[in-house]
Symmetry: C2
Subunit: 207 residues, 2 copies
């Protein structure tokens, strides 16, 4: 049986840069597999169905929930986001590592359902910096920006439910830290029982 | 107050290569601080007092134990080994990371006294490979080699008390894994409470 893969959950408040870091991580470490979320929100410019998200209707999304085909789901600012579970389970069982980029509500659900998942909180260097980034992105309506910023104070407190926190000062440095976290997790004793048993199952040393 | 440093404990059975890995780690990451152990064993060729070990007499060692000046100590193959605690505490309080290279008895004591210490087990790829390495090193008497090898089967089972296991197939690769473990540990939420609080203590975002 192949060694089980690791589920890596990248999360944090809107504007902290989790999307950019996720892209950089997948570019630098092509052996990682990205789990594409399903969403009912409208595609942003340049976003493709089946690449950035599975864009679905509200009706289709409700069907996924009803048939228990989502690992987690959440309603964020009036839109639904969720993680289809079948593909993830298949990849993990083949020993492949899977990266998820989700909001803080979703990450909390995953940690409860899969405590062996590695939850990494991408934090902004400061709340002021977060505000600047959301304004600069310019992809949200003024109304959306206001909603996102007012949630940020609350969302930052979710960090205590996570395993790791990576402050996104600079994308390359934050990405390297996440890569280090993945390597370290693969070395945890609890994830290496089969390797240890194989070393121990050798015949006793002849002297 | 400076962020607390991390105590990194490299350990494993004799011949697994923890000494070589420790040297390579300190060479590649000079910001790490090596904690020099005290021992009553005779120096091997090329070993220097105050560099590789503090070579002490049995009488001096007993005094260190009596005055509670050792973080851990153990008798291994008739010799005493111990970790002087004063310097380590001072470095950790200044935010400096400290690397210890100790035997499995010592690591178990450290884990009990300092659960926040990071215990890494350096494992050989197989028991046969371990036997070859101890023979090849050629620094031990035949009697010592026999004692070391007969202990290895038992020592390998201590791995379950550790946080991480790194199989020493190749020194550079094993060293990089340990460096990744240190980076990851520094990102753990529990080690970053002060940074998180400083982000959260900013004034609320003005919208």
């Amino acid at each position: 049986m192949a060694k089980q893969g690791i589920l890596i959950v990248l999360s944090g408040p809107s504007g902290a840069g989790k999307g950019t870091i996720c892209q950089e991580l997948l570019r630098s470490y092509p052996e990682l597999n990205y789990s594409i979320s399903a969403t009912t929100r409208a595609p942003r410019e340049g976003e493709q169905n089946g690449v950035n998200y599975w864009f679905t209707s509200h009706e289709e999304f409700q069907k996924l929930i009803k048939n228990d085909q989502l690992l987690e789901w959440a309603e964020v600012y009036g839109n639904f986001y969720g993680t289809p579970c079948h593909q993830i389970a298949a990849l993990l069982n083949c020993g492949k590592d899977v990266v998820l980029e989700i909001d803080t509500q979703g990450a909390t659900q995953i940690k409860k359902k899969f405590p062996q998942g590695v939850c990494i909180y991408i934090a902004p260097p400061s709340l002021d910096e977060l505000a600047k980034r959301i304004h600069k992105r310019g992809t949200d309506s003024l109304e959306n920006i206001k909603t996102r910023l007012s949630s940020a104070n609350v969302e930052l407190k979710y960090v205590y439910n996570y395993d790791y926190v990576v402050v996104n000062d600079e994308v390359p440095s934050a990405t390297k830290k996440i890569a280090a976290i993945i390597i370290a997790e693969k070395c945890q004793v609890v994830r290496n029982i089969s390797i240890i048993e194989s070393i121990l199952s050798n015949e006793k040393i002849k002297i």
